[in-house]
């Protein structure tokens, strides 16, 4: 059964902008799906429709066999934004514990889970720091720990590494793959970086703008687990070229980001 099932989703914003047109997409358990495309192709909008943060104008989204709304109420997904969106008045530990608090976990359980999560993103020892004391990359790791803390079956990520420098981004890419393998969750990942999409994904969904639609779906057959060496394989470059060409066929390359 698909984890996410998108059927004929169209989203028109007030004023007539068609952000998404007739999107159909099935996402299977354990997949790592990247949504890639130029600005304005609706990739972030599609992510938000899956998360029931935006309602589609037409069409339907099913998550784990439920409506997107019910899935959101059941805490079926964790979300990571481009900015870490940490609450500055909370310590690192309390930021990670926020969704657990809302779900009514008791203090003991929260603490042991937070410890586990901070181990996972290698931030043990920073429990009592406040967000502003961390680098951008560390903040984003806190935000990932927060999204994973309640073990959601689905992880939605909206250009999570877009604001980071290239080196930090590559390191976090590798870290994210490790976390994905360890947690066996399904990930939908929005990006506009071709190498990032190729390195991370099991399938790449190429989108084009005005109106936002899916122009091609490219399966990524690079072997798992992937490492820094993956980035140097000929197949990596072939796939990157294929994605680039698909983006160009979308006809909107050169649209300023």
């Amino acid at each position: 059964m698909s984890v996410v099932s998108i059927n004929g989703v169209t989203k028109e914003f007030k004023g007539g902008t068609v952000a998404l047109q007739d999107i159909d997409l099935e996402i299977e358990q354990g997949e790592f799906i990247s949504l890639i495309g130029p600005s304005g192709c609706g990739k972030s909008t599609l992510l938000r429709v899956i998360g029931d943060l935006i309602e589609p104008s037409r069409g339907s989204v099913t998550v784990n066999g439920k409506s997107a709304r019910q899935a959101r109420r059941d805490h079926d997904y964790g979300i990571v934004f481009q900015d870490a969106v940490l609450y500055n008045w909370r310590t690192v530990a309390k930021n990670v514990a926020l969704p657990l608090e809302l779900a009514g976990w008791d203090r003991e359980r929260r603490r042991s889970r937070v410890d586990e999560m901070l181990d996972l993103v290698e931030l043990r020892g920073f429990e009592d720091h406040h967000p502003w004391q961390l680098s951008g990359g560390m903040q984003q790791r806190v935000s990932i720990a927060r999204a994973l803390s309640f073990e959601p079956p689905l992880l939605l990520m909206d250009e999570p590494f877009g604001a980071l420098d290239e080196m930090t981004r590559e390191r976090l890419n590798a870290e994210l793959l490790r976390i994905w393998e360890a947690s066996a969750s399904t990930i939908v990942f929005v990006t506009h970086s071709i190498p990032e999409a190729v390195f991370l994904s099991t399938r790449i969904v190429v989108m084009s703008p005005r109106p936002g639609r899916i122009s091609k779906i490219i399966p990524v057959d690079l072997p798992q687990p992937r490492s820094a060496a993956t980035r140097e394989e000929p197949r990596f470059f072939e796939l990157a070229t294929e994605v680039r060409e698909a983006l160009q066929l979308g006809g909107h390359v050169g649209v300023p980001a």
Partner: protein, 269 residues
Amino acid sequence: MLLVVVLAVLWGLWEGFRALGIHYGWTRPFTVDATSMPHIHSMLQALFERPNAQGPLLIVTLLQAAAFTAKEAALGFAMGAVGGFVLGALLAHSRVMQRGFLPYVVASQTVPILAIAPMVVIWFTSVHVTAWVSVAVIASYLTFFPVAIATLRGLQAADHRALELMRSYAASPWTILWKLRFPTALPYLFTALKVSATASIVGAIIGESPSSIAGGLGGAILNFAQYYSFQPQNLWATNIVAAALGIAFFLAVVIAEKIVVGRAPEHVG
């Protein structure tokens, strides 16, 4: 150290202006003489003299008056802060209420407190409320406004993404209010509380005269103002005590802010 330097500079400016004014016989902006500008040391000295031969030292009288006024101001501040917060939260909650009521909230502040005070006193005396409580109500009239406006602004200041995160957790409006909107509003709220803290002293002092309260700083000011031409230093000494009380209130809010908002640099929202 800085405090000492600043006080020394202010002292120097006062005494310097005074000396020059007297020496050159300045008449603008006002005639400088011992009545318009008493020596600072004579103001301080006046604190430790007895205005009446049988009475206590001036500073004892003034500290008692300050304690009395502080009681009124503290209650007024508390009522204004709570009332202002509740009002601001209600307005922040509903756009309709905001459009309907905000103009009147603003209008309330254009009515001078001197016009409100006698009415408040008459209402409260008619239901046998102690006079100092009606002074507190008058003070709260000045303090609720900044708090209401800051609460309204602060509760709506939460970042769009931070709200989206709460929505992704299917958080209830109540949870969003306490876990996100309220903490975001705190820096705004404390800025308003600082304004209100000093305004509450002003409100209490002004409220004392229509309530015929003689035991507070308002009473002392009226009293010494009558004898200003003979003993100007007494009124100045009273002003110093009133200013010190305002500073004490302000500092109390600053300390509360340090404790509540904690270690955040520069009011991190």
